[in-house]
């Protein structure tokens, strides 16, 4: 089945998400759709799978124009989407999720779960997608959940599969397996659309590439003749440097020392299990690991946002195990939280207000309980310039900035104090290439100035590029450590450790 998108335009109020986009999706082929966050990839695919109606343009299936008035219609036409955020009910079984909406029923609307399991097994055998139909979704690893999503669209006889950022949550090994699945589906004659912002992956898997920038197609071509540099330029609109330049690795003394640290989840399960490590000044420690292995709890514990159950944290020879977040701030620990929307900024506050969330009480900014707004605004304006926060004014609501500018705002706030230790959780998640470049520079700058830096990231490439030492977290433990002062760590070995295979 071939699908053509002709001149698709989709706007939300004044914002134009897609403008005159034309794409061909062909059976037996993987189309790579590349673009930064906010380039309009997801909007375009939501148009294709019937969630949005285009303002102009048409969709043709095998030459015939079609319109979808809802997701149901697109599914019926054979178009299936695997969403970036899985559309799975965690407390249902695999079979229940797969058949939802097209359930096998008996008399009295009776749901025939046995038949559903058999149907799932049939698909699983046909395409070699290993999964237990009766397992609860919430007990399955993310890679397997993704397989369930694929089975779900295959179960609806999809001929076109749209995969939206499918590798974002996978370990490198899971990505390899996932690519095997994609190839098998392609060879079975399915048309696939692979949406991503990762350059290496698209070159590896796509048969044809189209690049989207600011809602328009800015280039397309054959991956065999394209390089990551070409693609990045098409995606960003200017040449991009991938090289990270650092001063030679020269660590100082221990700055932050973590001994036998144990931290619990809200539900009293162990999040971090008796771990030990230290961060020296002038060093970047990278914590690698698949999301959900205790990294969040670790950073929160170090930032003073989560109770430490046992163990000690020492900072510059002071025991800060039970110090408050503010005490830690004042001692020079900066924290870039993992979820900037929820813990990094207050979206409805202005840029200036967000800029002083941590220092508003300082005598510089307030006296006798009153905030000196003119000084705050002035300082915020300076910070915005220094850290390249692009905002109409310091009075704009922070929530209206793009993700990259929100993150730069957080970085500006945290680094404009006198800091010696920086905790950065997922510092570039969901950002555009330009902002990533900038934030990486800032982190390395902090390290070159002699700060200790702890980076948590689920992007292995980022960890490898920045870190002097790499620790791998798995199920709350540090199961491997790699020296990377000269970039000598082996990506494959780190990836294996992320999957739980201790070296």
């Amino acid at each position: 089945m071939n699908v053509e998108l002709r001149g698709i335009t989709k706007s939300f109020g004044p914002v134009i998400a897609n403008s005159d986009v034309t794409l061909d999706i062909r059976a037996g082929e993987v189309l790579g759709l590349l673009g930064e966050n906010g380039a309009g990839k997801s909007t375009l695919m939501n148009v294709l799978c019937g969630l949005y109606q285009p303002n102009a343009g048409e969709i043709r299936i095998d030459g015939r124009p079609v319109t979808f008035n809802g997701p149901g219609a697109a599914i019926e036409a054979g178009i299936g989407m695997v969403h970036q955020h899985f559309m799975l009910v965690p407390v249902f079984t695999v079979a229940e999720n797969v058949v939802l909406g097209v359930e096998p029923v008996g008399k009295l609307d009776f749901l025939d779960l046995k038949k559903a399991s058999d149907q799932v097994r049939a698909i699983k055998d046909q395409y070699g997608l290993e999964v237990d139909p009766d397992a609860l979704i919430e007990t399955l690893p993310v890679g397997v959940q993704q397989r369930v999503e694929i089975i779900k669209v295959l179960f609806r006889s999809a001929q076109v599969l749209i995969l939206d950022e499918p590798t974002a949550v996978l370990t490198p090994q899971e990505v390899e397996e996932f690519f095997q699945i994609i190839k098998a589906l392609r060879d079975a004659g399915k048309a696939l659309v692979f949406i991503t912002h990762k350059l290496n992956e698209i070159l590896q898997i796509a048969d044809r590439i189209s690049v989207l920038r600011q809602g328009r197609i800015t280039g397309s071509g054959d991956p065999k003749t394209m390089t990551t540099k070409d693609l990045a330029e098409m995606m960003v609109g200017r040449p991009v440097s991938f090289d990270v330049t650092k001063q030679p690795f020269a660590p100082g003394k221990d700055l932050l020392k973590i001994e036998n640290l144990t931290v619990l989840h809200e539900n009293s399960e162990i999040a971090v299990n008796q771990i030990n490590f230290s961060v020296r000044s002038g060093e970047i420690i990278g914590i690698a690991g698949v999301q959900g292995n205790g990294q969040t709890a670790l950073v929160e514990a170090l930032a003073g946002l989560r109770h430490i159950t046992s163990g000690t944290v020492t900072y510059q020879d002071h025991d800060i195990t039970h110090s408050s977040a503010r005490a830690r701030h004042r001692m020079g620990i900066a924290h870039i939280p993992e979820d900037r929307q929820r813990t990094g900024i207050i979206p409805s506050f202005t840029v200036a207000e967000n800029m002083v969330l941590d220092t508003y009480y300082d005598t510089r900014f307030s006296s006798r309980g009153q905030i000196k707004w003119d000084i705050v605004n002035e300082a915020a304006a300076r910070g915005a310039v220094e850290f390249d926060v692009r905002t109409p004014s310091v009075f704009s609501a922070a929530g209206h900035l793009s993700g990259g500018n929100q993150q730069k705002l957080v970085v500006a706030r945290e680094l404009s104090r006198d800091t010696e230790m920086l905790l950065a959780a997922q510092p570039t998640r969901g950002l555009d290439v330009g902002s990533i470049e900038y934030i990486h520079e800032r982190l390395i700058h902090a390290r070159d100035e002699g700060d200790g830096v702890l980076i948590v990231s689920s992007e292995l490439d980022e960890i490898l590029a920045l870190s002097d030492r790499i620790l791998v977290m798995f199920k709350g433990n540090i199961i491997a450590e790699f020296e990377n002062g000269d970039g000598q760590a082996d990506k494959n070995e780190v990836g294996l450790a992320m999957a739980g295979a201790a070296p």
Binding site: N46, C49, L51, Y52, G70, P71, G72, I75, M81, H83, M87, L88, V89, P90, V91, F92, E96, N97, L100, G101, V102, E103, V105, L108, D109, F110, L111, G128, L129, E130, V131, T139, L140, P141, V142, G143, V144, R147, T171, E174, E177, Q180, I181, A184, L264, H265, N267, S268, E269, I270, N273, V290, G292, T309, F474, K475, G476, A499, G500, A501
Partner: protein
Amino acid sequence: MAISDQTTPNIPMKLDIGEQRQARITGTVLIGLSILVALVFAMDSDGLAVFRLSRTTDALPLPNLAVPAQSFNYLVSAVLAFLGVRQFARGGARWTSLSLGIGMAIAVAAFLVWATAGKSFSLTGMLQATVVRAVPIALGGLAGVLCERVAVVNIAIEGMLLAGAFTGALVGSLLGGIPGLAAAIAIGGLFGFILAALVVSYRMDQIIAGVVINLFVLGLTSYVSSQVFQEYRTLNNAPVFRAYKIPLLGDIPVIGPMLFQQNLFVYGALIMVAVSTYYLFYTRRGLRARAVGEHPRAADTLGINVYRIRYINVTLGGMVAGFGGAWFTLGSVGRFDENMTGGRGYIGLAAMIFGRWHPVGALLAALVFGFADSMQQKLALLQTPIPSEFLAMAPYIATIIVVAGFVGRARAPAADGKPYIKE
């Protein structure tokens, strides 16, 4: 080509710290109960506590159950102490809840024995009243389950019960019992539909919408009953559905009077619980409804109409609550009094949570509350030294402890209370 299963399951790691804490708390509670039973109930008990299991009219009379009060209560105290110490020595997740449940039950038994010591008391009568009094709570809880399973928090159950009670009395007085009941169900359904419209279509805050309905119903029914019913008493004089003894089953000792010598409302509640369980957990529509409550966007992407399912379920919930409301008038006194539901709708919501958002769970939880209610009423006749108001409080306190003990594990539908906004 087969792709092997991944070897990195995100199975949560269990640590004993949380469990141990729970075990310690449970252990302390049990030992506290043990001391209470020994010092108060056992030392103060004398003679035999006689529990009557049958009435003289029963077809198959059972002999009375006579318990030597003091020995029984010392035994209970010993068992409680054993359970409590065991929690400290080796508490575990499953054992902790189970021990707490057993402990609570036998402590209540000890209390009853103490109160009855030297007298006699109709156990069957109390159990029968338990079921009767559980009915409005169970139906309120069931209405809550139907709504919250599709992620609509229904605080308005109280108002729906009250509207059902009022309408049942009014229409029942004018047209008779069956039309009264039908009208009560219809008015419940109407308020369910209104709630759905407010929170699903207009995305009004669910709590506020519910409170508004409660206040509206309370105000209107209070006004009419004090102004109109006082003048025209014939408008508030409805027939009552009598108990109907089911042949054979009704003759089983103890169980018979509890379950098979009851009126329409008890049978109706049991049937509704069974039908709802089948609907929610064994049908296609139920699967879709639960999907809407857990992950509405997932349901939407599969072409399921989230809004329509919410409308349907909330309206059904309203109808169940309307039926439950009619119990107050057509099922017991035949007359409407101001605010006669007295917060049973809210207790129904507690039963829903205690019952873990399951119809059967809500029913069982409602029976606990019904037991509390009927015990308090019967004990008032035995003239225990404790004022009956305090007796009425004790079981609720016990329930709070139990609910607090369970709270970590009971899980509400993931999207509960959140409006769904189509993109």
